[in-house]
Symmetry: C2
Subunit: 924 residues, 2 copies
Amino acid sequence: MPSTGSKGGVIIAGTIGNSTIIDMMISQGKFDISPILGTWEAYLTAVISDPMPGVSEAVVIAGSNRRGTVYGLYSISEQIGVSPWYYWADSPPQQHSTIYATDISVIQGSPSVKYRGFFLNDEAPALTGYIDAKFPPSPWGPGFNADFYKTVFELLLRLRANYLWPAQWNSMFNVDDPRSQALADEYGIVMGSSHTEPMMRATKEWNVFGNGPWQWNLNNNSIYPFFVEGAQRTKPYEGVLTMGMRGSGDTALGAGIETDLLENIIQNQTAILEAIWGNASVQDPNIVPQMWCLYKEVQGYYQAGMQVPDYIQLLWTDDNFGNIRRLPLSNETSRIGGAGVYYHFDYVGDPRDYKWINTVQLQKTWEQMHLAYERDARQIWVVNVGDLKPLELPISHYFDLAYDISLWDQNSVPAWLEMWAAREFGPAVASQTAALMNNYSVAAGRRKFELVDPTTYSLIDYNEADNVLAQWQAMQVSAQSIMNSLPNATQPAFFEMVYHPVTAGYVYYDIMISTARNNLYAEQGRNSANAVAQHVLQQFAQDHALTVQYNTLLNGKWAHMMDQTHIGYTYWQQPMRQALPGLQYVATSERDLAGDMGVTIQNSNATVPGDDMYHTLSSNSLSFTPFDPYGVSSQWIDIFSMGTKAFTWNITANASFVTFSQSSGSLSPNGTTDIRIWATVNWSQCPPGRGMVVINVTTTESQPTMYDQQTLYGTQYAMPQLMLPYNNTVIPSSFQNGFVESDAHITIEMEHWSNITTPSASGPAVNYTVIPGLSRTLSGVTLFPVTAPSLSTTTGPALTYNLYTFSQNTTFGTGNLTVTIATTTSLNTIPDRPLRYAVQLDNQTVKTVQYIIDQPAGANPTNWGTAVANSAWVSSTNFTYTGPGAHTLKVWALEPAMVLNTAWIDLGGIRPSYLGPPESYRVA
Amino acid sequence: MPSTGSKGGVIIAGTIGNSTIIDMMISQGKFDISPILGTWEAYLTAVISDPMPGVSEAVVIAGSNRRGTVYGLYSISEQIGVSPWYYWADSPPQQHSTIYATDISVIQGSPSVKYRGFFLNDEAPALTGYIDAKFPPSPWGPGFNADFYKTVFELLLRLRANYLWPAQWNSMFNVDDPRSQALADEYGIVMGSSHTEPMMRATKEWNVFGNGPWQWNLNNNSIYPFFVEGAQRTKPYEGVLTMGMRGSGDTALGAGIETDLLENIIQNQTAILEAIWGNASVQDPNIVPQMWCLYKEVQGYYQAGMQVPDYIQLLWTDDNFGNIRRLPLSNETSRIGGAGVYYHFDYVGDPRDYKWINTVQLQKTWEQMHLAYERDARQIWVVNVGDLKPLELPISHYFDLAYDISLWDQNSVPAWLEMWAAREFGPAVASQTAALMNNYSVAAGRRKFELVDPTTYSLIDYNEADNVLAQWQAMQVSAQSIMNSLPNATQPAFFEMVYHPVTAGYVYYDIMISTARNNLYAEQGRNSANAVAQHVLQQFAQDHALTVQYNTLLNGKWAHMMDQTHIGYTYWQQPMRQALPGLQYVATSERDLAGDMGVTIQNSNATVPGDDMYHTLSSNSLSFTPFDPYGVSSQWIDIFSMGTKAFTWNITANASFVTFSQSSGSLSPNGTTDIRIWATVNWSQCPPGRGMVVINVTTTESQPTMYDQQTLYGTQYAMPQLMLPYNNTVIPSSFQNGFVESDAHITIEMEHWSNITTPSASGPAVNYTVIPGLSRTLSGVTLFPVTAPSLSTTTGPALTYNLYTFSQNTTFGTGNLTVTIATTTSLNTIPDRPLRYAVQLDNQTVKTVQYIIDQPAGANPTNWGTAVANSAWVSSTNFTYTGPGAHTLKVWALEPAMVLNTAWIDLGGIRPSYLGPPESYRVA
């Protein structure tokens, strides 16, 4: 409740035990500090009367330590209307003529996670380019100086983070600017160094100042004092020391697992710390916090039995693609040092870099960090954020989870986004912006932009590429609409955090899908291939224009921050230059050998008339995939120009129940008038059962010569014919709540179960839970709690799906059908409990599928690169197909922390695509 | 000796036994006909006084049969100055005010081969389009009528041919125009039908008039009378009946070898012929000539032991790529029917069609047809000539060989070409045109145009693509120069037979190689990639312009004859539409991440500064292949713009004996000023032995900003350095007449043997013979006579090559070197005598290589598709490398009819290319 008038607006903030004013109020019993006394980063706020002489009333903030006090202050700042991103993403502070404090005491306890920070990494070209343009160079390279870092420190604190791994590829935090470390400590930022930089020394320090090779076994006489200097230098400040050692430049220490070598290194490092801090302090992670990061092959050392002191914090890692590889086992949770997670929002490496714009699926972050928290990895959360700048949204989300994960459940992403959007852009656009960015999160998370190329999405099957591109275009329209509604002051922030990624993402997708269209049309001989090539070139220019717009925004405040190349990948590493994939041109001045008119249909590469490798040579006929009432009732026909003369066309069917969106027209050879016609079956007019309709497409040309008359369909081809098979069928009324076959397959979104079968034997208390948006398409289904033990088909519940099929048999010729299941890319975090599911069709034998095969020595699992590229593990099982009618599919998740997405039952009809055929008709 | 005045110019021509005038002169003893009496197609010419009442003197031609007389007349016509091609290729008849006859009697004996003809095939789009434009349609399709065929008949006769397989894909010779068969017989043309059209009936006749399937076992009741009608229809005329049966549309009869079925078919066909001609006549190939063609799988029937009557002519075939698959064995030469060869100058099928313009290597035709003749395949030579029109040159050559092969030996192609060029275009340009077309024959024969794509020739290694393109460009310049020197009347013929194929071939090569350059430059980030793309588009337009020029020549006389698509192949069959391979565009408005200046060197895909997949990440250094006095003394460095600002560059070496063609300069970002610099080692200044020179390439930009100053080589890269390894070495003076290693390999053109080692045991009388031009590069080496028996290393001579090497060891890491030998694509024509060679290094164990592995059932040999695509069989053998110094390589051809081209001795230095590294330094 606001007070009724101005009381002067005094705010008193201080840290318990370090502020005489606060301590005096405590001693006077003005408030009760017992809930936070001695805790980590907690604070208490209250409106206090007569807090001190001469002040009648004040808002008082008492922190349990210095950062607790800071968080209390920044909490008020945020409530007043200052976004944590006011500098780094230009969110405009709200203007108020008056500010009121509510007379409610708040006790904010300790954060969920102790050390919460990010890593500035892979920082060229964007962040380094920005530094080069904005800050004078250091004697050793780019000017990553204290003037830069103070903006980072403040951002971290406003985000309630406390920990930083500084930029390191071409900089030295402690050397480039001697002010930086002291300033960090003044801000209260806990400094660390990356997993590959031991004893608080940057890699570049060795390159510049070190002697000899970075190899302990060959050169420890030089490396030892280098370590000593790092430890001594950090002693005055709050920091977490990285222990161990990797090879030079973020590579492996050696070819094999050299446990003895690494144990010797840690023993020496420990001896250094003991000499500086004393033996007892070194064993207290509250005094000399140390961290050993189990990154890539280092995890292999641990698995090989390497002994690491109990007080060293173990930092488990993800696979660089957001999937945590290992978490504390039940016998590892009592370690004094505890455990944490090193996570990635940005990466440089196999199978491909992702470092352009935000591709983080927020639901994935929630699911993985929730798992980490529940599995007691709560000591350190550090996330690689690349250049920082384009990842404002996932950074905010990540630190909100780290600060108080109890506020956010599996359904929380939309609500979190709405809160975030209201803070950054105002409540008027919060709902629409949240919906947009929820869609973006799924769309960009399906596959990293850098891995999307013209071959990714199918232009042929399921209208996949068209649908995906339409979704991006709709998002772009939404972003534009919101942008237009915003006041000028808010537009830069919206541009940086919403409009740019959405629009640049749309342009990127248009370039790749339109290039695919160009290549397909060129192979089909369409004149329009050339027009599509022109469109791609225009969008390439548009991609550049968006980059320029970003870099020149606000008088170039973020100059070079969008310099990251993203078009032109040929292997895992970024292209040095943006280059389009190949565009093809057809000879529009020459007629196609098969005449002026070409015809193709949905789900086909082939063109008639004429020859190609996709249909029988010299045939003039193409067949649609079957029409039925439970699948498609409309499919398209493209009629296009592939010649030099205008023509008129006419389309007719030998059955009146097939109608066309247009039945005649004319096309010019200019490549812009090609037409898509929809053929529709009117089921009420269609005879029951199976049949075939023949569609003819004829053409005439004006003033034909003798040659024209003889070569209407080219010198040797015949009039196009399209065969339309149909099956006018009906499911029995007894079939309820399940999926119906069409086109020889059934697609199931796993959340649409018919029912859940309870276990036959008593087992752990678990429930199937839906995580909306955690999927390439709809949602994830997983078992809660995530700490549950393993299940079996007798102790665990089954997801049960009713099915109805029409196919007489499968087209594989084996009598088998295939059940394929896609899960998220989550990995086996418990070595002896790999993720598994069981699956059963009707009463056939249950089959158990372990779909991730771990590899030794810290290597990624078999086929890991394909899985993370595709954002899915996909596994298949065969069952006998017993014929048409009702069937039942059961699926048991046998481990928690596996997330089921989609199932496909293939009777032979599934064709290649990226996302698989979309969900089938469902009786619900 | 010319007579001294006009004597009236009477020519009397007639066939012995069919002309009362000729017979009267014979009875009067005016000339002696005994040398030709009763022979096939011979004639006698003489100047005869008082040949008949009222004529004082005449040139008299007496033919042994009607075609003998015709050939006598056309021989005089040609001597007068009328080319056989006066109509079909517009060679202008020579104008003479007076014509003299020399008083020399000529006796022209029978041709080398009895039936000499061609097959009009694969006739769409070109020939069919021409027919559609020029002749009214028949009731059943294109107007392949007698008006068209009379020009073909006359052409055949003027070329001294006598036999025709008419067009058949969409026509019926006997049905489309009832005049055609009678007219053929009036001209004296022997009609046949293709190998797949039995009993003189066109495939289309069954399609239009037949009942039921074209399957003998299911439908012989319908097919039998269809055969009867064909035989009866041909009875009045001279013809060769095709026996046997294949499947519909030039496909196999069935999946397996069904010998019984085919024997039953031939028995029935024979019964039909016997009913029409009588039993005895059917067994006389002079009365009822029959032919069974062993095409593709049909050869498998024969090999499986199928019995075929002795009087049926066996027509062996090539592999559709000009390599004869089988020829009469010694026990097959006495068959009454004899044998012949069906050969291809044009083909539609695997691995790829070739049907655009002439790709026939004349030396190959000579070698194969000489072999056929020597092996007694002299009954029928028929060649598939596609549309006829673009193959004038190889057709002329083929029929000249067939008419009198004794005139043409292994060195004859240049002389034949000069004769041909003089006849077609006049003696003034004959020598230059012959040289041009000899080069064209090798260049176009290296690989069919349709199989040349941007990946074929290496832009990286051996300057291969640049050299090949330069060769084509030089040929084009020569063609243009000759064209300009010709009178107007001769230009159309020259355009059709020389200028068009040479120029279109050059444009085609430029499109493919420049597209490769565009793709490479795009990957390297060069601005010039976009300019190269523009050049490709211009040449694509030029390709079209050449087609238009051909089709509109002489008021469109050859309309549509050049309609064949040739750019855009994606599988074996022709593309329906011309489409370029993909062109890439770089973002010239954005700077490369590695700065404005890029540097690359010969033999490298890599670029510095910057990262790519071809050199160590973050390295700024590239290494040349080693320089030495026996290899390259100069290699190139490309300095190019990959940014947005102009810059100056400077190149320096840390050794004065390395000089540069240019040492500094400036480049603009417009993509047209990239520079190629040659680095040269001055050996007289160079210290002896091995060493390494470091070359630095630096850059400066004007008015640099703080950002520019810090990012001269991009945000994270360093100044380019080029490493130049050299070996200043010398061979001992004792090494004579042999090849010297450089770049860890030796390349040997086989004709450059050091000496020939005579056999240790007495063997057959054979000699190594060089066939100039029968190679992808220089020449072929083969054993004569081609009818020699098999040889061994003791009975046969060895080609011996002296070698000198410097490498300490090979870079394979195995201690082995590899000897790779390329031969022509000739096949095993004697089943139990596969082609083999033996090879020996120094005194190591001799190794024998059988490089063609035949397959059963008439299938092509293993890897046949690759061999014919590459125009070479390539086989490799390992030997131990015993270290630097002198070595000796010996090669024995163990069978005649194998043609050795090139050998490579690889010590680990050979890099990928199409033709292999060029010939090494040779002491001669």
